[in-house]
Amino acid sequence: MSSPQDALFESTCLPFLPDLYAFALSLTRRRHDAEDLVQDTFLKAQRAFGSFQPGTNAKAWLFTILRRLHIDRFRRARLRPTPLPEDELAEMGRDAAKLPEAEPDLPWDDLPPGAVEDAIQTIPDPFRLPVRLRDVNGFSYKEIGEILAIPPGTVMSRLHRGREWLKRELVSLVEPPGAAPKEGPPA
């Protein structure tokens, strides 16, 4: 028999299971690891539910727990996400710091099924998670900062760089190799 507290936990947290699984899968990229991570997240959330403030964003709270557990797991296993080569990181920074002259008009409706998700997965980790949390999960900059434990300014810059990477991937899907980049509308 469950207590009112258990019932409240279930009604508050369990509806986010699909969101958590999708996020866990994007972190681990392995189904079984994602399932383990989701289960551990719920167990930890259940134990910590007393500290949850009713009326605050339960989804962000659960995502924060999941993200921390994922980091802990890496530490425990003495593993780290594959580091991004410094030169590539620097190149991304240079590209993203420029104000683009024109935005490509992407044919969003004509993109192949799953293209956006696949393209998101190609973004290097530090930039991929802000993009996913913002453009897929709909979190605010502030919530993303809390989930990833990074300052708001870092959220903003990583989000932009991740989007630029994503845009490059998507443009390459709709333009034949070697084609000159399309000019956008005149500014």
Binding site: L17, Y21, L43, R47, P100, G138, A187
Partner: protein
Amino acid sequence: MTTPAWTQDPAEIDRTIEGELPPAEREARAAVLAADAALAARVEARRRFLAGLAAAGRSADTQARAAVPPELAARVGAALAAGDAAGAGAPPRLLRLALATAAVLLLGLGASFFVGGDEGDAVAMPPAVLDAAEAAVAADPGPRGCAHDEAESPLRFPPVRDGLRIWACVERDGGTVAKLYRPEELPSVGYAAMPAPGTAPGATVGRTDLGDTVVFDIAYGRKAHYIAVRKDWLERQRMLTPGRESCRACHHLSRVGKDNPHKIVERSWKLVAR
């Protein structure tokens, strides 16, 4: 006029478009854009890109949510039950029982209901399954035979007034099917198959857990009535009436001081259309 630094920073432009600014700053930037047509055009192009990305992101999110392994909800439920039992120092037999039942009672509230009978195998419906039924529900004919408002409901059941789920009932596969949807969040959240009306004895009330919704089915006046209530609503009602059985949670003042006459039977659900 000096060009503000933010106009040269693409990350700041994203932030401007997405409204992640204090109100005063938002107004100041809007004024800059209003005075600079070229900048405004570039920002508008960026806005189109972000809007397309957001729509594609929502679509990707829907697909990702639908890809949840069906067994994961049961697995998590079992783990939570085991966590509870272990935390309470429960003996191994109870722990095993909790593990076995949690898999089929994942989302049940159950605390103040008397659960009996074996008319159904109660299982949790993954929310992704609910999402998958949208098209079928949209194509189905309109509602009939269910409690749509308080006047139609058994004993003028108040939750119909403020319990926020409306549905249609259709005969399908030899049983009655409750078609559920949120009036404020159309399209629907799915289908659930219920036993045919009139089969339940006397005060027996069927209960089916469907994601964040609990559906009660009641045979009354030789007619099946379905009452869907959000779990969080139900839970709030229960917490407002501590120490009482659950009648008052649904019947409000009409049952104050009376014991719960109902026998709650957990129903199974099945998806009848995808």
